[in-house]
Symmetry: C2
Subunit: 245 residues, 2 copies
DNA sequence: CGGATGCTTGAGGTCTATCAAAGCGAGTGG
DNA sequence: CCACTCGCTTTGATAGACCTCAAGCATCCG
């Protein structure tokens, strides 16, 4: 570690940046920015995490926002009576930590579902730069607002009465996000267990498993454990009630 | 209407402002603000709405944020297949319109459940002032983040398997918010129908009604149509799984 | 190879949705 | 003032969906 972190970051923006939620914050120099503007103006460092490791924990002090650079995360809130609720799955290019801004304390856990890497954006830095550059401020507000809208879609998902509809909508959402990032939208490898999917969708793991089997029987999916291939996307969409989320 | 709107606003901050989400934005002059700082620097005007009227609609152009000054609202998203999902109920002091910042277009409908009045905060004004005053910017980010955290609590609510738990958690949440605003937290008048509660909680209206009856039989509630009196708050809390939301 | 973890499938019980009917309550018009 | 209407709520019976408990299978890893 002879060279400073900044040197490690000053490499050309990687493919991972191309579809990042922070792209416009990170790569696009705001109007009025000095020519020396670099992505590492925002991203202080990158942080590797091992599968199962916590990026932050409920109640922990909020200091930074995180953009998933590679890997896969889940966020989780625990209620006082011990039940857990998974509030989201985050893949590369998506954000973690926005929940902490409100009270300076994280409102959920963030756990790596596989070996992962995140870009660390110290929040004081972001606030300072947002103050300095109006474009950056505007873009940051948009990001926060989109997170709110995203939750509306999740509520619509959870309001689906039937397990098959919930699962279909969930898979379509996952496939769409993977497709956006250049991966195949038809053939995907689940990074989470049946139980985690169930906790997210408000179903028991057995129900999730049965629902997978039913979707397979109807001929819209091929399922082999965590290997899922979408055979009939429009059929799946019809099942989901067309709300891709 | 001889006098200009600004004059109407320059009255001393009313009781409604005391518990408003925008309180710190609206009433507290940010550091560096001129002594002439007034609440109406942010609030351009106030808008009255009749019961059933829409404050804004899904797909409509986003221009302002709104703080509920009096009355009661619901926000609703419609899925392509015609199902509706109520994403929240907003009472005095709570915010509407944050969903529109992301793409400049509202992502949900906002409907008045009774005759209401809102404070209109033009968004360009807010962005300009946030640019000018760091305190105000910080506070606005907190408000956005808290909205995200609030949605986590709703997901926890929807993940409750049993109808009674969902309803209990819903009522406790409502009572707490009313209590925060100085109203009685024990005796409340519902402003929404059983069907609207059901759409919010992911239940059918008959199930909501039966659940009310069961809570009554257990002796934790008195229910007479929309008049609800909480007899045993701790019993209700126990039923809800202690997640007040 | 053996254990651990996760997945699938089965049977039975419980809860919710659905369909149906009757009971309030507020507002209207005679 | 009363009867009427309309929207909302309550309650009942039935069917269907999900949860629970339980057993067996697959996969991964030391």
């Amino acid at each position: 570690m002879d060279r400073p972190p900044a040197a490690a970051l000053s490499t050309a923006p990687s493919a991972a940046c191309a579809h990042c939620a922070l792209r416009d914050l990170c790569l696009t120099p705001p109007s009025g920015a000095p020519p020396s503007w670099q992505p590492d103006t925002l991203v202080a460092t990158r942080l590797p995490l091992r599968r199962g490791e916590a990026l932050f924990q409920q109640g922990g002090r909020f200091e930074s926002l995180y953009a998933v650079r590679s890997g896969f995360f889940k966020t989780r809130v625990s209620s006082p009576d011990g039940r857990d609720q998974i509030t989201g799955f985050q893949m590369s290019g998506e954000l973690l930590g926005l929940d902490g801004i409100g009270d300076g304390v994280h409102a959920c856990d963030a756990l790596a579902l596989e070996d992962s890497q995140v870009c660390v954006v110290p929040y004081p830095t972001l606030e300072r730069l947002a103050q300095q550059f109006p474009d950056l401020q505007t873009e940051f507000h948009r990001i926060l607002s989109r997170e709110i809208v995203r939750h509306h879609a999740v509520m619509l998902l959870l309001s689906n009465v039937h397990a098959d509809r919930r699962l279909a909508a969930f898979l379509l959402n996952l496939a769409r996000r993977l497709g956006n990032r250049g991966y195949s939208a038809a053939s995907l490898v689940l990074r989470m267990t049946r139980e985690e999917i169930g906790t997210y969708l408000g179903l028991k793991l057995e129900t999730v498993s049965r629902s997978f089997s039913r979707l397979h029987e109807r001929g819209v999916l091929d399922v082999r454990q965590r290997q899922v291939r979408i055979i009939d996307p429009s059929g799946l969409q019809e099942l989901a009630g067309d709300n891709g989320g």
